[in-house]
C-alpha cells in the first residue's frame, strides 16, 4: 500500500531585495547602508542590512529614516529593473516545481510536495535552489520549508539573510508551542493587543479558548487564527498569473487641487504606465483614475475604451477627462491612474473611426528607447516640466 506524500511548501524571500539589487549594480553601495525610497513624504520601500542596524525598517517614513541614518545612501526605486530581476528568480523557481505562486516582486511559494520521492533530503534540494538563484541573479534569498504556507513564510524569516529553515512535520506542535503569536501572519497591532489582554503569548496558547470564542472575538480572522494555532493553513499554492493591470500613483508634497499640477502628474504617470505596458507588449482598454483626498477618503473612476491602448497620450487624455468630469473642488493628497482589461476584443470597425496616428507610437517608442539607454530622466516631455 502506498501512502500519499507529505505536503511540503517552500517560501522564498529575497533578502533586502531592492537594496541588494542596487548594491549588486553599484559597487560603491556595498557594505554601506542603502535606503530605497524617495521624497520627503515617501516611505522606505526597503533597506540594506547595514541600514537595518540603525533601526531603519520598511514602510518607515523617509523623514524618520533620515533622522536615524543620515549617512545612508538614498536611492529612488527602479521598479522596472527590479521586475526584470524578479522574473529571473521566478524562472529558476519554475525549474523546480510547476506550482509556483509569486506572492510579490520578491516573494514566492512553491509546492514541493512529492519531491522527497525524488530526493529524500528536501533541505539539500532547497539549498541547491538557493544557490541557483544566487548564480542567476547574484542575490541571496532565504528559504522556509514547512507543511503549510504560513509556517513556510515564518520559517523563511527565521535565519535571514541567506538561511534555509526546514520545519519538519513532526516538529510542528513543538514549534507552535513556542511561536510568539505576533509572528503569525495577520496578527497585527490591534489583534496583538487583544491577545495580550487574554495572556495569549504563544500560538499554542490560542487553543486554550474554543473555536467559537475566537469567532465571536475576531470574526473570520479569529477562525483563521484558531486554525493557524493548530498548524492548519488550507491555502494551496496558486500558480502565478499574468498581471491584470498597470498603475502609477503619487502622493503630493502638499495637498493640492491645482488643475495644472494634477494634469502634470497624470501625464507623468501616463508616461510611466504606458512605458511599462509597451515594454510588456500589452495594451489595456480600461483606464482608471484614483484620487485620495486630504481627508483620506478615496475614489476611483474608470472608463473602458473601444480599443485597447498603451499610448501615453490616450491614457493621459482619458484619465484627464475623468478628472474633469469629477468636478472636484477638494484638495488631493494622492492621484494615480491605471490601465487594465488587457488585450483587444474583436470589434467591428466603424465608418467614422479615427485611425491611430503611427507617429504617436513612434514617439512613445523613441522616448522608451532613450530612457532605457540613458535613464528615466534622460529626456522629459515639455508639458511636465
Amino acid at each position: 500500500m502506498t501512502t500519499a506524500p507529505l505536503p511540503w511548501i517552500l517560501h522564498l524571500d529575497m533578502d533586502a531585495f531592492y537594496a541588494s539589487v542596487e548594491q549588486r549594480d553599484e559597487p560603491r553601495y556595498r557594505g554601506r547602508p542603502v535606503i530605497i525610497g524617495g521624497g520627503d513624504r515617501g516611505v522606505v520601500a526597503t533597506c540594506s542590512y547595514e541600514a537595518r542596524k540603525f533601526g531603519v525598517r520598511s514602510a518607515m517614513p523617509i523623514s524618520e529614516a533620515r533622522r536615524l541614518c543620515p549617512q545612508a545612501i538614498y536611492v529612488m526605486p527602479r521598479m522596472a529593473h527590479y521586475q526584470e530581476v524578479s522574473q529571473t528568480v521566478m524562472q529558476v523557481l519554475h525549474s523546480y516545481s510547476p506550482l509556483v505562486e509569486q506572492a510579490s516582486i520578491d516573494e514566492a511559494y512553491l509546492d514541493f510536495t512529492g519531491l522527497e520521492l525524488v530526493e529524500s533530503d528536501v533541505r539539500a534540494r532547497a539549498q541547491r535552489l538557493q544557490a541557483e538563484v544566487k548564480e542567476a541573479t547574484g542575490l541571496s534569498c532565504s528559504l522556509g520549508l514547512a507543511p503549510v504556507k504560513f509556517l513556510a513564510k515564518i520559517a523563511s524569516d527565521m535565519h535571514k539573510p541567506a538561511g534555509v529553515t526546514v520545519l519538519a512535520h513532526h516538529a510542528v506542535p513543538a514549534f507552535l508551542a513556542r511561536l510568539p503569536v505576533g509572528k503569525i501572519p495577520g496578527v497585527g497591532k490591534q489583534t496583538g493587543l487583544v491577545l495580550e489582554t487574554l495572556s495569549v503569548h504563544y500560538a499554542a496558547d490560542i487553543l486554550r479558548y474554543p473555536r467559537e470564542f475566537w469567532e465571536r472575538k475576531l470574526g473570520k480572522a479569529g477562525l483563521a487564527l484558531y486554525e493557524r494555532a493548530q498548524g492548519i493553513d488550507p491555502r494551496p499554492v496558486t500558480p502565478y498569473t499574468e498581471p491584470k493591470s498597470e498603475s502609477a500613483e503619487n502622493t503630493f508634497d502638499a495637498d493640492t487641487s491645482d488643475p495644472a499640477v494634477l494634469a502634470r502628474w497624470l501625464f507623468a504617470q501616463a508616461e510611466r504606465v504606458g512605458a511599462r505596458l509597451r515594454k510588456g507588449g500589452r495594451k489595456g482598454r480600461t483606464i482608471t483614475l484614483k484620487m485620495k483626498f486630504s481627508d483620506f477618503t478615496q475614489i476611483t473612476r474608470s472608463r473602458t475604451l473601444p480599443t485597447a491602448t498603451n499610448t501615453t497620450r490616450v491614457i493621459y487624455e482619458t484619465a484627464l477627462a475623468l478628472l474633469h468630469e469629477q468636478k472636484n473642488t477638494q484638495r488631493l493628497r494622492l492621484i494615480g491612474l491605471g490601465v487594465s482589461q488587457f488585450g483587444e476584443v474583436p470589434r467591428q470597425l466603424g465608418f467614422f473611426d479615427t485611425p491611430e496616428d503611427p507617429r504617436e507610437a513612434k514617439l512613445d517608442a523613441t522616448l522608451d528607447a532613450l530612457r532605457e539607454k540613458f535613464g528615466p530622466a534622460a529626456i522629459v516631455r515639455g508639458r511636465i516640466l
Binding site: T307, E344, V345, P346, R347, Q348, L349, G350, F351, F352
Partner: protein
C-alpha cells in the same frame, strides 16, 4: 354620444390606434383613444404626442359627440367581444362610456373632452400618390442598418433627391449602411433638396400601418403625412432636423480602381454562415474570409466551442487576402437581397465593403469588417 358599430368595421382601426399609444405614460391624455361621432362615421384618434393616427369608420350615429377612453382597455374589450353590433353610449354627467352587446354591459371612465387637442389635418395641396407596398419594402431594406442608439442623426432614414432624377433612401449605424435608389418624379418634386429624416421608431410605426395599397403622401415643414387613398385612415409623424452624415465619402471608395471584387452565391453563403454562427461566441463573433481567385475559405473558432471551416467556390480578384465580418450582421445583410449572386466590393481588410446583387437594382449595402486580431488558439494533441 350614442352610436352603434359593427365590431368587424372598427377592430382593425382600433388596434392601429392602440398601437400608437405609449406603453407607459402618466398622462391620461396620451393613454386615450378619442372617439368622435359625426354624420354616419366614428372617427378614432390617438397619439403619443408625436405620431398621430386618425381613422374613420362606418357607424350608426344616433347622437354625435367626442370622448376619450382608456385606449388599451377599450380595444382589448372590443377585441374580446364576439362579432356583431356594439352600442357605445356616453353618460357625460357620470363621465363613463357604456359598452353594450346583447346582455353584456361594461362601463369605462371617460376623459373630459376639454382635454382633446387638435390633430394635424392631411394637407391636400400637393399630395402625391405612392405605393404602400413599395414603401414597406423600402423601410424593410434600409431599416435594419439604422442604429438604435448613438448619434440621433443616424437613428433616422434619409429620403432625398439624388442624381439622374432618382430618389435615394438610406440608413446607417456606425458599422453598416443601406441605400436604395428609385424613381418617382412626383415624390421627388415634393422632397426638399436636402431630403427629409424619419426616425427609426416612426419607420416601425409606418411599417405596421402600411398595407399593399397605394397611399397619399404629403409633407409640410415639420411633418410627413400618409393617408389611404379612400381617405379613411391617416398617419402623420414629425420629421427630424439633424445634420445627416455625408455618406458619399465612403460610397466613393467603392468605385476606386484598386477595389477587390468577390462574387459569391448568396444561398451558399447564407447556409455556410448559419452553420459557422454556431461556432461564434460572445467574445469572438466573426467569420474570417481567406480569399483566393477561385475559393473563399470561411472560418470561425472559439477557445471553448471548437472551430468551423467551409470552402465556397467564388470568383475573386483583388489584393485583400483576409477579411473578417461579424457573422450575424452579414447574415442579416444577405437576407435583405433577392439576387442569387452577390458582388462584394472590398476596399481593404479594414475598409468598407459594398454589397450589390444582380437582381437588386439600385440597392447597396455597406458593411464594415471586423478588426482582425492575431489570435492564438491552443490545442493539445497526442503526438
Amino acid at each position: 354620444m350614442l352610436i352603434q358599430i359593427q365590431k368587424e368595421d372598427v377592430i382593425e382601426g382600433l388596434q392601429k390606434a392602440a398601437s400608437i399609444i405609449p406603453q407607459k405614460t402618466g398622462a391620461a391624455y396620451l393613454r386615450s383613444i378619442w372617439l368622435r361621432a359625426e354624420g354616419n362615421k366614428l372617427e378614432l384618434l390617438s397619439t403619443d404626442s408625436n405620431i398621430e393616427f386618425r381613422g374613420s369608420y362606418t357607424a350608426t350615429v344616433k347622437q354625435e359627440g367626442l370622448l376619450g377612453v382608456q385606449g388599451r382597455a377599450f380595444v382589448e374589450l372590443i377585441r374580446r367581444l364576439p362579432a356583431g353590433e356594439i352600442t357605445l353610449r356616453a353618460d357625460e354627467a357620470a363621465s363613463v362610456l357604456h359598452i353594450e352587446q346583447g346582455r353584456r354591459q361594461y362601463k369605462l371612465p371617460t376623459n373630459d373632452k376639454t382635454w382633446f387637442q387638435s390633430f394635424s389635418d392631411f394637407p391636400e395641396s400637393g399630395a402625391v400618390m405612392w405605393s404602400g407596398d413599395f414603401l414597406q419594402e423600402l423601410i424593410d431594406r434600409v431599416n435594419f442598418c439604422i442604429g438604435e442608439e448613438g448619434l440621433e442623426a443616424i437613428a433616422c432614414m434619409i429620403l432625398k433627391p439624388a442624381a439622374n432624377e432618382k430618389i435615394e433612401a438610406a440608413g446607417m449605424n456606425g458599422h453598416q449602411f443601406a441605400m436604395i435608389r428609385f424613381s418617382n418624379d412626383e415624390l421627388r418634386g415634393l422632397l426638399p433638396p436636402n431630403g427629409i429624416l424619419i426616425q427609426k421608431k416612426y419607420l416601425n410605426e409606418m411599417k405596421k400601418w402600411l398595407g399593399i395599397d397605394e397611399i397619399d403622401v404629403n409633407l409640410d415643414e415639420k411633418r410627413l403625412y400618409l393617408r389611404t387613398t379612400d381617405k379613411k385612415e391617416s398617419l402623420s409623424l414629425p420629421l427630424s432636423a439633424y445634420q445627416y452624415p455625408d455618406y458619399h465619402t465612403f460610397l466613393a471608395r467603392l468605385d476606386a480602381p484598386e477595389v477587390a471584387s468577390l462574387e459569391i452565391s448568396r444561398g451558399e453563403a447564407q447556409e455556410a454562415l448559419q452553420r459557422i454562427l454556431i461556432f461564434n461566441t460572445e467574445s469572438n463573433r466573426c467569420t474570417y474570409f481567406q480569399l483566393t481567385p477561385t475559393e473563399v475559405i470561411l472560418t470561425a473558432a472559439g477557445q471553448d466551442v471548437g472551430s468551423a471551416t467551409e470552402t465556397l467556390d467564388v470568383a475573386y480578384h483583388g489584393a485583400v487576402e483576409r477579411i473578417a465580418f461579424p457573422t450575424h450582421n452579414l447574415l442579416s445583410l444577405l437576407d435583405h437581397f433577392n439576387s442569387a449572386k452577390l458582388t462584394l466590393s472590398l476596399t481593404g481588410s479594414e475598409g468598407p465593403c459594398g454589397v450589390r446583387g444582380e437582381d437588386d437594382a439600385e440597392y447597396l449595402v455597406i458593411i464594415m469588417p471586423m478588426k482582425i486580431l492575431d489570435d492564438t488558439q491552443f490545442s493539445e494533441e497526442q503526438v
